[in-house]
């Protein structure tokens, strides 16, 4: 099944005929069995599905962290399957932001240094105004000099979000960004992500298995057995739960 968002012409990320096969011969596992998908600029999309449905593999391939077996992926107009490691690294640095489940901050650096890290890796100067805006939006103003272990889980994840947003990437990938947070802090982070889409025009693709988290997205894509099997626009937690239940059936 193919799902295409037809009502927009600008696509931040798109994939054609994407397959990912582990192993060979009769024991081969098709983690992705031919996925065609595209994500519009300025939209917040959640990918959902039961364990083993291939949602994480899809995200890893889209982000250029894992190589696809066949098919093409386009980010910001570039076919990333044709890039070598250095070009791919540069693309990650310039066009992609990440928010991980386990925050993944560098423990030896302060919050501010962590936020600036991608820019420093690229040897670029940061835009002070933009940094101030991101930091104040995320409410991190008084936490910048702290090391990760001095911050709460929610604060750490907000630092990670700030790090992802600072490069104004073409797309931010979130991998269960609220998985390690309590409900209230999780809701806070999700609101921040949604407002970054609304107010800053950011594109976000998020993998989650939490229907409440998915309900913050503009759209939910459903996966099973390495294929896209459905979508929900303007989802509510109840609708998502129902859709997931129908997949399991």
């Amino acid at each position: 099944m193919t799902i295409t968002n037809t009502h927009s012409t600008t696509q931040a990320v798109s994939a054609r005929g994407l397959t990912k096969v582990y192993g060979a011969g009769p024991t081969a596992v098709h983690a992705l069995a031919g996925v065609d998908v595209s994500f519009e600029t300025g939209r917040f999309t959640a990918i959902m599905g039961p364990s083993g449905s291939g949602k994480s593999t899809l995200m890893h391939c889209l982000a250029g962290l894992d190589s696809a077996t066949s098919g093409s992926i386009t980010i910001a107009g570039q076919d990333i399957t044709q890039l070598n490691d250095n070009e791919l690294t540069r693309l990650r640095r310039d066009a992609i932001g990440f928010v991980f489940q386990s925050f993944n901050l560098v423990p030896t650096l302060t919050a501010e240094q962590n936020i600036l890290l991608p820019l420093q890796l690229a040897g670029k100067k940061h835009d002070a105004g933009w940094l101030a805006q991101v930091v104040s939006t995320l409410g991190l103003g008084d936490r910048l000099a702290h090391k990760p272990h001095e911050l709460s889980g929610g604060q750490q994840q907000r630092v990670a979000v700030a790090r992802a947003l600072l490069t104004r990437p073409a797309v931010v990938f979130g991998d269960e960004p609220t998985g390690n947070l309590d409900t209230r802090t999780g809701a806070e982070v999700l609101s921040l992500l949604r407002s970054s889409v609304r107010e800053m025009g950011q594109t976000i693709i998020m993998v989650t298995h939490d229907p409440v988290a998915a309900s913050y997205a503009d759209e939910v894509l459903l996966m099973r057995d390495g294929e896209l099997v459905g979508n929900l626009s303007d989802p509510t937690p109840e609708a998502v739960t129902a859709a997931l239940a129908s997949l399991g059936a």
Binding site: H60, L65, D66, D85, N86, T89, R90, R92, R93, D94, F98, F100, S102, N104, V106, P107, T108, L109, Q113, L117, P118, Q120, L121, A122, R163, D175
Partner: protein
């Protein structure tokens, strides 16, 4: 990236303490070695410079140029130089020896003429007046104080001139001079005499070392230099050298420092060994640090760090550590050397010692320390580069890395080990030390390259021995080889040190034993005491009347100069003597050599090898005796008898027989002695007197044997030199080897120490890495004690196996090395210093246990809940 590297160093500084310490010690060793060289040179330069400090020019003979005739710088040359226009004064640099009797003691003194020219004096007056006339002297203040000499004291001066005439006169001390550090004046009492008196010491044709020249004010130094050289040439010196005092100092310095450079090279070899071991520790530390940071490195890759950036980050960390630790190491070296030089300069004979920190010792220390750290961090940095970005998203991997030995390394390792081994064996068989040395070096490098093949395997095998004793032991032996690469590097560092130390120990012991056996064969007995008559003396030391070193022709020395039964009895009561034999001259062979005899049972007791006791009708002769049979005649008889020759391996030519054999000789009469004679065939025969052969009690060390020699001399009332023998030579030899061994082991101990720091380091890093796992084990019911025991056993396994393999390797190298080194002049007897080798093993294991204490405590302190929560 620099910021990240610095942040890492700041945050993980505790993990870097050990590696900093290791680099620091290795660098300090290198720097200190170079400082020893520069300090020794500077001290010598200061000392030599003092000899010439007041001279404008120094004239002498250029000894680098070959001359056909013996050329001497004498009075004629001195006068010729003094006549050169522009020369204000010339003084010879010359010394002679004398004995000074102060009434309370008898001291060696260096005598030099008190220079007439005030500027050119090496020593200047502190108090009193300059020596004039024949019976006035001055002494230097340092020794005057030491010996209690004052102005106005009279001393006895004895010496001899080159022509053999003796000097013996009484002199009055008229003044005290400064003490000079000039190497020509040495460390003895410095006595200055008047020029006239000095002429008696050097005779009519003095041989001056050099001529010190003072120039007239405003004289052209270059013109005088040329003119003085021409003047010397005109007076028989074919290659004169005239140079400034500064140039002369530099020239002499070069000729003095030849041996010292060799010493520096030897020290540098040890410094290099310490640095190689340090490199292994650094490599290991960085490998562990990179493994621990896999997630972090992967995160950086995900965030857009290039591979090269990650490598640079690790290398920057290494660079910072290298620079900081090397700087600390150089400072440590300066501190240690300042202490050493400070101590040495308090010794009277080395008061000129001065610390010189040459730029090269600082630069080389910094550069080598830093570069070594960078090289060692290179491989781990490459590993950091190859971390996949996706690793950041996976759950934390358990620490386990599979290392595969590279094919190239395997091939080279096998080639080197086998080739080097063959060379070493060849060196041992052909007694060629150079071949053996290179063979050993190559094979050791080969074995180290192959270490990852056999070290983890051996640790695993030894660990299996313990695995029956419970789960903690089983886990420990599994953990010890969990990361074979890390285990290999840790153990290799220790293996190098232990191999070298035990090689030295086994080599020394084997050499000692081989030489001991050789000396035992060469010297039939421990001590030999000659009759005083053989030296023209009597008991108590006074010379025989009318004797000048030889017994008078045709006379027999009185009993007061011959050893007899009473002396034998006295000797046997001396502490430390186990047997005494009195050998009396009984016969002469046709060459005039005297044969001695003693009772067979007594001989069996004193000979080092009782099997050498000659049978009836047999003579025990030295190695040089080639005849199978010897025709001899008893003393004071002309009837000859023929005896069979039994050859010993001794170079020592005195032939002996048993008393029983002697009694069978035709015309034998007891109590005979031999005076100096000329035999029938015209050969000359020395006078011969009874000799005592003495065996020392077993197990006496070198000092005790020397004491025994001295007490034998005093008990028997003979001068020290009449007591000789293999025992003292052997003891002296043993002492030299032991001292060498001590020094070398001390130097190698630095490498072992660094390696043990490495063991502690690896263990504590592994513990950090396994925090979760340790917590899990604690949660599952492992007690704190068991956890500590587990880590201790892991450390002991790695260190114990490394030490054990090192000892086996070192023993092999030691035996083969000794065979190559001394095989050509002694039969090598295998002998292992079990005690010392066990000590090495014990120290390694105990140090490993100690090294496990801190990491084990840290691991045990962590509560299971905390540990499991740690990400």
């Amino acid at each position: 990236m620099l910021k990240l590297a610095l942040a890492n160093i700041r945050t993980y500084s505790r993990r870097l303490i050990a590696v900093t310490l290791a680099v620091m010690i290795g660098t300090a060793f290198l720097s200190a070695t170079l400082m020893v060289n520069s300090s020794a040179t500077a001290s010598l330069e200061r000392s030599i410079g003092e000899a010439y400090q007041h001279a404008d020019l120094v004239a002498g003979i250029d000894t680098d140029q070959p001359t056909t005739d013996v050329e001497v710088l004498g009075v004629k040359q001195l006068e010729a130089v003094a006549a050169v226009p522009g020369v204000a004064a010339v003084e010879p640099q010359t010394t002679s020896g004398a004995r000074i009797a102060t009434g309370t003691g008898d001291y060696n003194a260096v005598v030099h003429p008190y220079a007439a020219d005030a500027q050119l004096r090496t020593t200047t007056l502190v108090s009193g007046t300059a020596p004039t006339g024949g019976s006035q002297v001055t002494v230097d203040e340092k020794h005057a104080e030491q010996y209690g000499l004052n102005t106005g004291d009279t001393v006895g001066v004895t010496g001899s001139a080159p022509d053999g005439s003796a000097l013996d006169y009484t002199a009055t001390i008229t003044g005290i001079t400064t003490s000079s550090n000039s190497p020509f004046l040495g460390s003895n009492l410095q006595v200055a005499v008047s020029g006239d008196r000095y002429a008696f010491f050097v005779g009519s044709a003095p041989d001056y070392q050099s001529l010190m020249i003072r120039l007239d004010d405003g004289a052209d130094a270059a013109a005088v230099t040329t003119a003085a050289a021409d003047a010397l040439k005109a007076h028989g010196i074919s290659h004169p050298s005239v140079m400034t005092a500064q140039e002369r100092t530099v020239t002499e310095l070069a000729s003095f420092t030849g041996g010292q450079d060799q010493f520096t090279v030897i020290l540098l070899v040890f410094a290099l060994i310490a640095l190689v071991v340090t490199g292994l520790v650094v490599m290991n530390t960085f490998a562990v640090l990179v493994a621990q940071r896999t997630r972090e490195l992967a995160l950086l890759r995900t965030l857009g760090a290039m591979r090269a950036q990650l490598r640079r980050s690790v290398l920057v960390e290494a660079l910072v550590i290298g620079v900081v630790s090397s700087a600390l190491g150089v400072l440590l070296a300066i501190g240690v050397m300042a202490g050493l030089v400070g101590y040495v300069s308090t010794l009277p004979e080395a008061s000129f010692a001065v610390l010189a920190v040459s730029p090269i010792s600082v630069i080389a220390g910094l550069a080598v320390g830093t570069i070594m750290t960078l090289i060692a961090a290179w491989a781990p940095a490459r590993r950091a580069m190859s971390v996949a970005p996706l690793a950041a998203l996976r759950p934390a991997d358990d620490a386990s890395v599979h290392n595969r030995i590279g094919k190239l390394r395997l091939v080279f390792g096998v080639l080197l080990a086998l080739g080097g081994g063959a060379l070493l064996a060849f060196g041992a068989v052909s007694h060629n030390l150079l071949v053996g040395f290179f063979g050993g070096l190559l094979s050791f490098i080969g074995i180290l390259m192959l270490a990852s093949l056999f070290l983890p395997g051996t640790v695993r095998a030894v660990g299996r021995l313990f695995s029956g004793s419970g789960v903690p032991a089983k886990l420990a032996s599994l953990n010890a080889v969990r990361n074979p690469g890390r285990t290999t590097a840790t153990a290799t560092a220790l293996l190098i040190g232990v191999t070298l130390v035990s090689m030295m120990m086994v080599g020394a012991q084997t050499t000692k034993q081989s030489f001991g056996a050789e000396l035992g064969r060469n010297y039939l007995v421990d001590f030999t005491v000659d009759s005083p008559a053989a030296f023209g003396e009597t008991f108590g030391g006074a010379p025989l009347p009318g004797s000048s070193g030889e017994a008078g022709s045709g006379t027999t020395a009185p009993d007061s100069a011959q050893l007899g039964d009473s002396q034998a009895k006295t000797a046997s009561t001396v502490d430390g003597v186990s047997a005494v034999a009195l050998l009396t001259p009984v016969a002469q062979d046709q060459k005039g050599d005297v044969l001695y005899a003693a009772d067979a049972d007594v001989l069996a007791k004193v000979l080092n090898d009782p099997a050498l006791v000659p049978a009836d009708g047999e003579v025990l002769a030295g190695q040089s005796e080639e005849a199978k049979q010897l025709k001899v005649h008893a003393l004071e008889s002309t009837d000859s008898s023929t005896l069979k020759v039994k050859r010993s391996q001794s170079d020592f030519s005195m032939a002996i027989m048993t008393t029983a054999t002697a009694k069978q000789l035709a015309g034998y009469a007891p109590g005979g002695s031999v005076a100096e004679t000329t035999t029938e065939d015209g050969s000359y025969s020395m006078a011969a007197y009874p000799v005592l052969w003495i065996k020392a009690a077993p197990g006496l060390d070198s000092g005790q044997l020397q004491d025994l020699g001295r007490s034998l001399a005093s008990e028997l009332r003979v001068p020290d030199y009449q007591v000789t023998g293999g025992a003292m030579e052997k003891a002296l030899f043993t002492q030299v080897i032991d001292t060498l061994l001590l020094v070398v082991s001390g130097l190698l101990a630095v490498a072992v120490f660094i390696a043990l720091i490495g063991v502690a380091n690896t263990l504590s890093l592994s513990v950090l890495e396994r925090t979760r796992e340790s917590a899990l084990l604690r949660a599952l019911g492992l007690t704190r004690g068991q956890l500590r025991g587990m880590l201790a056993l892991e450390a002991v396994l790695i260190a114990g196996v490394a030490a054990l393999l090192g000892i086996v390797l070192g023993t092999t190298y030691g035996v083969l090395g000794a065979q190559s080194a001394v095989g050509s002049f002694a039969t090598v007897t295998l002998s292992l210093p079990w005690g010392q080798l066990l000590l090495v093993l014990g120290v390694s294991v105990l140090a490993a246990l100690a090294a496990s204490i801190v990491p084990a405590r840290r691991a045990a302190r962590l509560s299971p809940v905390e540990g499991l929560a740690t990400e």
